[in-house]
Symmetry: C2
Subunit: 154 residues, 2 copies
């Protein structure tokens, strides 16, 4: 069964910007969720993906991802009004791993999170100098929590 093993961090400074290899614009929509399972549609440049994630267990969760026609993905995003997020994903290679530094668009402008996908829960990786505090599994850095907080302040 495919597993997603991911750790999430704040960034300490903007040093990552000098090391970006690629930047992708993407738009995510939360189609539905229940009991920690969630189904997301993602449109990324001219491709679209449907992703089913199981409940989080520590830093891991089951994840199934399928590419779907872009037209389907865009139509599904239309269904998710109020539960979509746009961000630019910057890919930043460091010491044999590829970091994703996600820079969110409004309403989450100003939010920047760095993620690394690991091949195993105990995989060893080097921390780049720009990396900040780890926030893996922290509720206040879940996208839905950040979105609700931001909208409540608006």
């Amino acid at each position: 069964m495919p597993r997603e093993i991911e750790r999430k961090f704040l960034v300490a400074d903007a040093g990552w910007r000098q090391a970006v290899s690629t930047s992708l614009r993407l738009r995510d929509g939360l189609l539905a969720s229940v009991d920690g399972r969630k189904v997301r549609v993602r449109c990324l440049e001219d491709r679209a993906f449907l992703t089913v994630k199981g409940p989080r267990e520590g830093i891991s969760r089951d994840e199934f991802e399928y590419e779907i026609p872009l037209a389907d993905g865009l139509a599904m995003l239309d269904h998710c009004q109020g539960a979509t997020l746009e961000k630019t994903r910057h890919l930043v290679p460091f010491a044999g791993f590829e970091w994703s530094v996600d820079e969110y668009a409004p309403p989450l402008d100003g939010v920047i999170l760095a993620e690394i996908e690991l091949p195993a829960e105990d995989a060893v990786f080097a921390r780049p100098p720009w990396l900040g505090r780890e926030v893996t599994g922290r509720d206040e850095y879940r996208k839905i929590t950040m979105l609700r907080a931001r909208l409540a302040r608006a």
Copy 2:
């Protein structure tokens, strides 16, 4: 955008059994739902499908369906404990349309519903003699409602 246009009926008697062309065993799991959208995984004999349905609008709703590897489908069903349903789907041709007569397994044993998918909302179709009362859109015949009622009685 793909649309599902479907009407659902009770059966008046067992006359449909003589006209069955094929019977398929299938197992459905509700992965997640919100605001009338829902995402379902279906394992049908040796195939599996992931289906995203938009909110119901009269007798229509958006529907996106993708075939996925059977192993993925079975793993997802395992995630849906308590929200899975098994049924035998009998295909019954009548007057140019193919009816699906769904005979549910426990805990919904005894429930039999006939469905027809239409090419347009105003499509004309002939009613087979065994067809009972229409229940399209009736909340008490939604699977989740029937399941809750049955479990409450158990």
